[in-house]
C-alpha cells in the first residue's frame, strides 16, 4: 500500500466529489425546470441534499488523502 503514490481513498474522494457536483447541479436545475415525470417525494429535492453531502464527503477525502 505504501509504495503506491496515490491512495485509493483519494480516487474515491475524487469520484464522489465529481458525482456530487453532477447530482447537485442536476438537483438545482430541477428546481427551476421540473422533470416531466416527477419521482415520489420530489418535493424533498433529495438530489440537492445528496449531492451536497457527496461533495463535502468527497472533498474531505481529497484533502485528507491528496498525493504529497
Amino acid at each position: 500500500m505504501e509504495k503506491q503514490s496515490i491512495s485509493v481513498w483519494f480516487f474515491i474522494g475524487a469520484l464522489l466529489a465529481i458525482y456530487g457536483v453532477l447530482i447537485l447541479g442536476s438537483g438545482i436545475y430541477g428546481l427551476f425546470v421540473p422533470p416531466n415525470h416527477a419521482v415520489a417525494m420530489s418535493h424533498l429535492h433529495i438530489g440537492i441534499w445528496w449531492g451536497s453531502g457527496m461533495v463535502l464527503f468527497g472533498t474531505g477525502y481529497i484533502v485528507r488523502f491528496r498525493p504529497r
Binding site: M1, E2, K3, Q4, I6, V8, F11, I12, L15, L16, I18, Y19, L22, I23, L24, G25, S26, G27, Y29, G30, P35, H37, A38, V39, A40, M41, S42, L44, I46, G47, W50, G51, M54
Partner: protein, 568 residues
C-alpha cells in the same frame, strides 16, 4: 452505438438523462484507469495473486465485504424480502456474523501462518494432493459458473429495467472487469471493490432514507405493510419460526440455526476462497483479523440497503409484485424488480445514474471476486501442481493475467449457456451452496483435530458433496421427499436449502471422523502451523485492549445479539 444502446432506456421503465449517462460512463472510465495505473505495482506472483500481502485492515475489510455484495445478492435478497419479509435478514445476521467472527478469531491465524495462497492450498498442506485437487477443481468450475450466472442476471436486469441490449451489457461490463483484473490482479480487484463499496452504499441508501420519510418512520411502514397484506407476518425474525406453516418462508428455527447459521454460513464465510482471499492479502495477521471484523460490522448493516428497500416495497408500491414465472405481462412486475423499482420511485436525474452505477458496481465487485479467486486457484492449485510443476514465478504471473481473461470469456460462455437454460440459475445456486458446506467440515476438523487423516480429508469432502447432490436429486425426483429432507412439506426453497446443508455437513463430519479412526494420521512434525495445539499463535497481550481483535469481535457480537432481540 454506445449512446444508442444506453438511450433505449428512454422507452423502458427508467428514463435516463444525460447526467445519468455521464455518471455511468465516468465510472467505467475510472475503474479501467485504476487497473492500468495499478499494473506497475503487480510484477511478482505475490503482488499479482495476493496483492503483495500489504493491504491495511480497512482496505482488506471493505474489499472482503464488497466481494460478497454482488448485484445478484443485492437484488435477490431485496426480492426475497418482498416475498418472505424480514426473515431474510437472517442471511446477514445469524447467517453471517458468527461465522465471520469465527473466521477472524479462530481460522484466520492458521490460514495466515501457513502462508498458503488459497483454501485448497491449505487442504494440500493438511491432507495432501487428493483433497486439494478435488476442492480446487470443484471450486474452479463453480466459480466460473457463478460468475456467468451473475453476469446473465445483471444483463437481464439491465435489459428489463433500462432496455439495454443484453449482449451489449454482458460484453461491456465483463470486458471492463477482465481488463482491470488482468492488468492489476488482486490489487486492482481489491481497490475497485473498496470504490464499489462506497458507490453501492451511497447509491442505494437513498431508498431507505426517502422511503422512511414517505412512510413517516418505521411504525408507519409496518402499519402500511399490515394494511397491504392483512393476516401475513413479515416483521418478525424468530417468533414465527416455532412451526413451519407460521411464516412466509416455511422455515423452522432449527433449520435457521443449524442449517443456515452453522452449515451454510460457516461454509461460505470461512472456506469460500472468494471472500477469504481478500483478508489473506492483509499486511499482517492482526490487520487480517481486524479487517474481517470490520467486514462483519458492515455486513451487519447491509440490511439497511437491501432488506429495508424490500420492506418499503411491501409498504409503498401501489401494486403487488409477482413470482418470476408469472412475469412478462404488461404492467406486471416481479419480485426481482423490487430494488430497481424502488430506485425508480425515488431517484430523479443524477441520483438514478448513481443508483444504476451502484448496481453495476455490485455486479463488477462480485464478478472480479470470482475471477481473481478462480485465477489464483487455477494457477496455484491446478496448473502448477498438476500440469506444469516447474513453472517459474514470471510464468505464473503471465498465466494469471491470461487466466483472468480466459475466466471472463468462459464466464461469458456460461452466461449464454444459462440464457438457453434459465432453470440452471436455480440449480447452480444449489450446487454452489452445497459444495462449500462440506469444505467447511473438512477444513475445521483438519484445523482443530490433529487425528484427522489425509484419507479422511478426501473421503469426508467427497461424502459431503455427494450427499448434497443426492438429497437435491431425491427431492427433484420425488417432491414428497421434502418431508424427510426438510422435515416438512411446507418448506420453501430457502428453507429446504438450510436442511440440505445440515445433512451435507453431518455426512461430511461423520465420514471424516470414521475414516480418521481407521486410517493412519500424519506425524506431529508435519502438522506444525496447520493444527490447533501444534501451532504457535501470536499473543494479543502486547496491544492495548482497544487494538485487540477480540475486543472488536465482542462489540460486533453484542450488536448482533441486540438486533436479533429487537426484531425477535
Amino acid at each position: 452505438m454506445l449512446s444508442a444502446c444506453f438511450l433505449q432506456a428512454a422507452e423502458t421503465r427508467f428514463s435516463l438523462n444525460p447526467v445519468d449517462l455521464i455518471i455511468i460512463i465516468l465510472y467505467f472510465v475510472l475503474v479501467l484507469g485504476l487497473g492500468v495505473y495499478l499494473r506497475r505495482f503487480t510484477k511478482t506472483a505475490e503482488e499479482f495473486f495476493m496483492a503483495g500481502r500489504e493491504m491495511t485492515m480497512w482496505v482488506a475489510g471493505l474489499s472482503f465485504i464488497s466481494a460478497n455484495l454482488g448485484s445478484l445478492e443485492m437484488m435477490g435478497y431485496a426480492a426475497a424480502t418482498y416475498q418472505y419479509g424480514i426473515l431474510v435478514a437472517h442471511a446477514y445476521w445469524i447467517g453471517a456474523i458468527p461465522a465471520i467472527l469465527f473466521l477472524a478469531l479462530v481460522m484466520l491465524p492458521f490460514y495466515y501462518i501457513c502462508k498458503t495462497h488459497s483454501v485448497p492450498g491449505y487442504l494440500k498442506l493438511r491432507f495432501g494432493e487428493g483433497a486439494r485437487s478435488l476442492s480446487a477443481l470443484s471450486f474452479a468450475v463453480m466459480t466460473i459458473l457463478m460468475s456467468g450466472i451473475n453476469m446473465y442476471s445483471m444483463a437481464i436486469i439491465m435489459k428489463v429495467i433500462l432496455g439495454w441490449n443484453i449482449h451489449f451489457s454482458i460484453w461491456v461490463s465483463s470486458l471492463t472487469v477482465a481488463i482491470y483484473v488482468a492488468t492489476g490482479g488482486l490489487l486492482s480487484a481489491i481497490f475497485n471493490e473498496v470504490l464499489q463499496f462506497f458507490l453501492i452504499w451511497i447509491g442505494c441508501l437513498v431508498i431507505p432514507v426517502v422511503g422512511l420519510i414517505e412512510t413517516h418512520g418505521w411504525a408507519g411502514m409496518v402499519h402500511r405493510i399490515q394494511a397491504n397484506f392483512p393476516g401475513q407476518d413479515f416483521m418478525h425474525m424468530w417468533s414465527t419460526t416455532g412451526t413451519f406453516s407460521n411464516n412466509p418462508m416455511g422455515a423452522h428455527w432449527t433449520g435457521i440455526v443449524f442449517g443456515w447459521g452453522l452449515a451454510i454460513s460457516f461454509g461460505y464465510w470461512t472456506t469460500d476462497f472468494l471472500v477469504v482471499q481478500r483478508v489473506m492479502a492483509a499486511k499482517d495477521l492482526r490487520s487480517a483479523q481486524l479487517g474481517t471484523i470490520i467486514g462483519g460490522f458492515f455486513k451487519m448493516t447491509v440490511p439497511l440497503i437491501v432488506i429495508l428497500p424490500g420492506l418499503l416495497a411491501l409498504a409503498v408500491l401501489p401494486y403487488h409484485l409477482v413470482p418470476e414465472s408469472q412475469g412478462g405481462l404488461p404492467n406486471v412486475h416481479t419480485y426481482n424488480e423490487a430494488l430497481p423499482l424502488m430506485l425508480a420511485r425515488y431517484c430523479g436525474p443524477g441520483l438514478l445514474g448513481l443508483g444504476v452505477t451502484a448496481l453495476v458496481a455490485g455486479f463488477m465487485s462480485g464478478m472480479a471476486g470470482n475471477v481473481t479467486a478462480f485465477t489464483t486457484v487455477w494457477t496455484y492449485d491446478i496448473y502448477k501442481p498438476l500440469i506444469r510443476k516447474d513453472a517459474s514465478e514470471s510464468h505464473c504471473v503471465s498465466m494469471g493475467r491470461w487466466c483472468s481473461l480466459l475466466g471472463v470469456f468462459v464466464s461469458i460462455g456460461t452466461a449464454y449457456l444459462v440464457m438457453n437454460f434459465s432453470s440452471i440459475i436455480v440449480y447452480a445456486q444449489v450446487i454452489f451452496v452445497f459444495f462449500i458446506v462440506p469444505m467447511f467440515g473438512t477444513v475445521i476438523l483438519g484445523m482443530l483435530w490433529k487425528r484427522t487423516t489425509p484419507a479422511a480429508g478426501f473421503w469426508g469432502l467427497l461424502a459431503g458433496i455427494l450427499t448434497s447432490f443426492a438429497l437435491w436429486l431425491w427431492v427433484k425426483v420425488d417432491p414428497g421427499a421434502l418431508n424427510f429432507v426438510a422435515f416438512s412439506g411446507y418448506a420453501k426453497d430457502m428453507s429446504e436449502n438450510m436442511y440440505r446443508a445440515m445433512w451435507s455437513l453431518i455426512a461430511n463430519v461423520l465420514v471424516t471422523v470414521v475414516v480418521s479412526l481407521v486410517t493412519k494420521p500424519k506425524p506431529d512434525h508435519e502438522l506444525r502451523g496447520l493444527v490447533y495445539g501444534m501451532t504457535d499463535l501470536p499473543s494479543e497481550h502486547a496491544f492495548p485492549i482497544f487494538q485487540r481483535p477480540i475486543t472488536w469481535a465482542a462489540a460486533v457480537g453484542v450488536g448482533f445479539i441486540a438486533l436479533n432481540i429487537f426484531f425477535w
